[in-house]
């Protein structure tokens, strides 16, 4: 076992006149110390968090209260994709920014599924914009723009998921905007059309 052996063993004879003192053992039992050592290792191993939490950086657009509405630059309808987040992690989306009062946008519903979800729609939109750039319908400065409008029934995880999709699909221009009553109405209509719930 783990012991220190400091006793002088054998050899070395004492002179005839020297009294032989009582020999004390100098062996120390190290077992408890080792036990304690392992106990502490176990403790620290359990408490250590090796992975630090990750963060996602988000930049909100600078809002100048003095900026007039007519001064704000308009997003082209052809590059925009509007995504509405609703309850039960449902995602509604439509092409364009939906500002035409005469023609209601056609809302489609999807989910955050890895395949055939919102990701495929974003990829398709990006491809469409790229094609339009190539054919000269759009200038090189135009970028796919995604407008994210979470409604009151959506959760924080929906927001993070959609922001994550922006990173995953390399969408450089996106914005989180308040949902309008009109769009809230669209969601209701679509829900009613698809048989409630």
């Amino acid at each position: 076992m783990a012991e220190m052996d400091t006793s002088s063993s054998g050899g070395h004879k004492k002179g005839p006149g020297v009294k032989k003192g009582k020999k004390l053992s100098t062996r120390i039992d190290l077992t408890p110390m080792v036990d304690l050592g392992f106990l502490l290792i176990t403790f620290f191993m359990y408490t250590t968090t090796m992975a630090k939490p990750k963060t996602m950086e988000i930049n909100m657009p600078y809002k100048d209260p003095n900026l007039k509405i007519e001064d704000q630059n308009k997003i082209k309808n052809s590059v925009a994709l509007t995504i509405l987040l609703s309850k039960n992690h449902r995602v509604y989306y439509y092409e364009g920014i939906g500002d035409d009062p005469n023609k209601a946008p056609e809302l489609k519903v999807t989910y955050f599924t890895p395949t055939k979800g919102i990701r495929d729609e974003i990829i398709a939109k990006k491809k469409m914009v790229d094609d339009m750039k190539r054919s000269g319908q759009l200038t090189a400065k135009d970028e796919t723009t995604v407008l994210i409008k979470p409604d009151t029934t959506s959760t924080y995880s929906d927001l993070v998921n959609i922001l994550d999709e922006m990173n995953i699909n390399d969408i450089k221009v996106y914005a989180i905007i308040d949902i309008t009553d009109i769009e809230q109405g669209f969601i209701k209509e679509t829900e009613a059309a698809s048989g409630g719930k």
Partner: protein, 207 residues
């Protein structure tokens, strides 16, 4: 045997040095996951925790900063806190109590503070910074006065409803803070996407 002991103690030393104790968290929050790999900074962070019920808890990381923060809050909101209560605030990790109950909360012994925190209503907030009900706005303002370098991190539960998070974002925007961090778990980048191609295009392009 000796060799094994040596290794064991080496490991012990390693874990002791590598361990950083987690600060006490008022509520258990399960953050959603994202592909972002930016690590959370160690110092100068302001943590806004949102639990599934939408209660907001506020925390900053430095004890000395907390002391100056409570001095400032005490002065701004005229809470008439005693020195002992201020010290209690400096020791406490996070706060989720409205100003009206803050004095009575800080006067309690630490164990009772914990039980009170479990049932705490959270810090009241609103979409406008100028509203007197928006206590979170006061906390953020005072904390930024005390330490202008603070980075703001929002740690919200995936189940937390969006309007609550929106209130925080609006409050931050009201103070002209447009850049902040959302704390998330890490998940793998799905293959076949732009981010995946970017990550696997070699080391020459580091973004």
């Amino acid at each position: 045997m000796t060799a094994m002991c040596d290794v064991a103690f080496l490991l012990l030393t390693f874990f002791m040095l590598a361990t950083k104790f987690k600060p006490d968290e008022p509520v258990i929050v399960k953050t959603p996951s994202s592909i972002s790999e930016i690590p959370l900074p160690d110092v100068d962070i302001m943590l806004l925790t949102v639990d599934p019920k939408g209660r907001i808890f506020f925390a900053i990381d430095n004890k000395l900063m907390r002391k100056s923060l409570i001095e400032d809050i005490n002065y701004q909101r005229d809470l008439k806190l005693t020195d002992a209560e201020k010290t209690a605030f400096a020791i406490d990790a996070s706060i989720g109590i409205p100003f009206s109950q803050l004095k009575s909360y800080l006067a309690l012994p630490p164990e009772q503070q914990k039980t009170m925190e479990v049932n705490a209503p959270g810090i009241p907030t609103d979409t406008s910074v100028t509203s007197p009900q928006n206590e979170l706005a006061s906390w953020i303002k005072s904390a930024r006065t005390v330490n202008p370098k603070l980075r703001i991190c929002i740690k919200a539960d995936g189940q937390a409803s969006y309007p609550m998070v929106k209130k925080i974002i609006k409050t931050l925007e009201g103070w002209k803070i447009f850049k902040f961090n959302l704390i998330t778990d890490l998940k793998a980048i799905p293959s076949g996407t732009a981010a995946y191609a970017d990550a696997h295009s070699g080391d020459k392009k580091t973004k």
